[in-house]
Symmetry: C2
Subunit: 487 residues, 2 copies
């Protein structure tokens, strides 16, 4: 059922037109008041909601994902656009700061009148992901946050759902036109070469990406090698380890096992936050429960590239001499594959981090038995940067030191919950140290994602009438202003 | 009078000890409450103030800079440390966000309890600058902001003032010890090789730099080429163009000329915000006034490398067939060099941006005559990224479009003031698009500089007692918290 559409790569001529249009659209789009841009985001959200009956069948056809999941994902996507509208109306994202002139400033020299605000970077190039054809694709989080910040977006479609990408882009184009916004604020491009050419073009001022470690790293390197390097926000891979304390395992082993199975097989294991490893006490009933658990039925993966990549990693893991199969459906290596649980020991994970801590994108996870809870610290330290790390414990456990380590390794740390859902909220953090992302200080989900596409500008000694509205004394936009260091 | 000290490069063994100590100091330093770290910053500031009588003579001996300038710079440096203490006590820098669990969250799925705070990155490597031996060196802005954020600092000393660097580091070490802080929070290293080795070491989690474009770019490339790339905040070069409108030139040409001379010759032209170019209307009295102006006497440059680099750029500029000498002291190419003003036309600057928009680090500036004020837009657009751009105008001028362009090109835009002073304040922005900096979204001066050395971590579903204090409901640190999107 995956796409059989022939992708027509964007030609050099078309790309040139899109880049020129994006550059020309940058200043007028940036000049809109935040609430005006919010209204445009709302209009795009409404248009996408209204087009659900057209878009969802195309998505089902191209991605193997079920209707309920896609319906929920489209809702998440339009909610996300509207939430960024709320961020714009609030105005705190501008980080407006006003220092009045101060002849007595204790630095030793008079302080001039200085006012600082965040402004858009310019055209942003977004590389869509395959696994969320709405929420991390054409009108997904990177597009929403780059737009909200005031930047035109050029979207490089993922080859896994080209028809859906084209259909989504058409809805966007129509909504923008109806709102009177110039077309250059959005363009869809197709093909690896067009993506790379655009990334190297001086008119592009930032990049966003969700995908694999090798793919993301190659683009990150390309962005940094430009004569003018640009920020590149890549969300790459993650193992998302889960650490179960002895007390929790003793307390509710069967429940933990059932919840873990639900989490690692969700979406056929194709979430970047899928828990790929679970550490459990040796001899815990969790291992028994997992061995006896009824794993979900085989489900098709997103596309043939993901299927073959999954099999390659699974075969290597399963063939590792320190790894045994703990539980497996009838056709673990077929297409579609049934889920797999593998078993190894803590010592082996420490001894072979490169082979046993790899991300396996699909319905496989590694169960790791440890002997002594004190080992968990060393195990946590042995991981590279992660999107998430999960601690399953009880409040009587002494876990403060482990939490400290997990917080240094991962962007999101969970307590007795599972990492697979990534809620779009004010406090969400979806990002972590490399290789989870290429930009440790940022998030690609949640309202803070807007900061990625902004840069500060200070105005010194300006008359009121020539200042951006957010920095004027009368505060016509009614945004939060920090004045002389006070809020 | 420049330094004749023999620099002993840091050995591999010593560097290894420093890196280990920094890594070991990271967790305890990060675990201090913000107000506790603020007290340490205050203690270091007081120790440096108290050591002024020792440090300033060493600085005078090594840098050719006069006592008054160095006295002011030390005051600025200790003020800066204390200002970051104020930032810590305020707590807004933590960007604490709390989302309560919400079963009705309109995304379509229940929202978990999510709480997000900024945490330190880990050991930071800072490369000191030559031109501000206190404020951008051992205890300068990068060190202060990285420390404040909760990171140990390894400081690569600048070869221009090694004795001062050692003496400053000794004051810091003593103050840290007296405050009961472990020594790994700070280390001084010497030599290009030790700096490069440290930058590539996996224990280093971020870099800071102030210096030349080629030097900064080389280190930026090195930081990005690591297996785990790290953020690298380089403040490189800038031409800092000044645009004078026809009305302003007619109104107060002589004053503008005098102020410009004071600005471009300040510190013998060795400020990264020195105005290197001034655009004036053809035939304006500014040109006459500059031709007739009494330029300051020759003053020694910081060191022989800067002297030879300056002569190289000046000779190329002066030998350019589109450039004439407008005014010059008696010994423009001597050591010390007397200041130089060169003259060219707007058309030539547009035709030869590479040769005529170069930074010339020293007491030289280029005066550019334009015919029509409308040309200023194209001239502004022709520049690469800048730290500053200055507009000298009157309120009757139509300058909105020019300001828009300048705000896209520079991190700080000035109106009828001069860029050479960089006040340490809440709203300061010292940074801009490449090549002004390698990180367009950041500043190296002002309180926002702390954000460079922090990363977000979200805690999902945590019991109160296991949360960082800044995220607890009782808010024991009394920091600003955004709760459910509201402040």
């Amino acid at each position: 059922m995956t796409s059989t559409a022939t992708i027509t790569p964007t030609s050099t001529t078309e790309l040139e037109e899109f880049l020129t249009a994006a550059q020309e659209a940058a200043a007028p789009w940036a000049a809109l008041r935040p609430a005006e841009r919010a209204a445009v985001l709302d209009a795009v959200a409404s248009a996408l909601d209204a087009a659900g009956e057209t878009l969802i069948p195309i998505a089902m056809h191209e991605t193997n994902l079920p209707q309920a999941r896609l319906t929920g994902e489209l809702k998440r996507t339009t909610f996300q656009l509207r939430l960024f509208g709320e961020v714009l109306r609030d105005g705190a994202y501008l980080d407006a700061r006003i220092d009045h002139a101060d002849a007595q400033w204790p630095m030793g020299a008079p302080r001039p009148d200085l006012r600082r605000v965040l402004e858009p970077l310019g055209p942003v190039l977004v590389f869509a992901a395959s696994n969320f054809p709405f929420a991390f694709s054409v009108a997904g989080g990177d597009t929403a946050s780059a737009w909200a910040a005031g930047n035109p977006v050029i979207l490089k479609a993922h080859s896994g759902h080209p028809e859906l990408s084209i259909a989504t882009a058409a809805v966007i184009a129509e909504a923008l036109a109806a709102a009177g916004i110039q077309a250059g604020v959005f363009a869809l491009i197709m093909g690896t070469e067009a993506g790379a050419t655009a990334l190297k073009d001086s008119r592009i001022k930032a990049g966003g990406f969700t995908g694999s470690i090798p793919g993301g790293r190659a683009l990150f390197d390309m962005a940094n090698a430009r004569p003018e390097p640009i920020p590149f926000y890549g969300e790459l891979g993650s193992n998302n380890p889960v650490f179960v304390t002895a007390a929790a395992a003793a307390d509710r082993g069967a429940t933990i096992a059932a919840e873990f199975v639900a989490s690692f097989t969700m979406g056929a294991g194709q979430f970047c936050t899928k828990p790929g490893t679970i550490f459990v006490p040796r001899g815990s009933e969790i291992v028994e429960a997992l061995r006896d658990s009824e794993l979900p039925a085989a489900a098709p993966l997103l596309n043939s590239r993901i299927q073959s990549g999954y099999l390659e990693v699974l075969e290597a893991l399963q063939g590792h001499d320190k790894v045994r199969v703990l539980a497996q459906g009838s056709d673990p290596l077929a297409d579609p594959p049934s889920p797999t649980l593998l078993l190894t020991s803590a010592e082996d994970v420490l001894a072979h981090p490169e082979s046993l801590q790899t991300e396996c994108f699909g319905p496989t996870a590694l169960v790791v038995e440890y002997t002594d809870e004190a080992e968990l610290i060393a195990l946590a330290k042995s991981f590279e940067g992660q999107l998430t790390a999960t601690l399953i414990g009880t409040e009587t456990c002494e876990v403060e030191s482990l939490i400290d380590v997990l917080a240094r390794k991962a962007g999101r740390v969970l307590w007795n919950q599972w990492p697979t859902g990534v809620s779009v909220t004010y406090a969400q953090q979806h990002g972590g140290p490399y290789p989870a992302t290429t930009s440790v200080g940022s998030t690609s989900v949640g309202t803070a994602a807007i900061s990625r596409f902004l840069r500060p500008v200070a105005y010194q000694g300006f008359p009121q009438g020539l200042l951006p509205e957010a920095l004027q004394d009368t505060n016509p936009l009614n945004v939060p202003q920090m004045i002389n260091g006070k809020r």
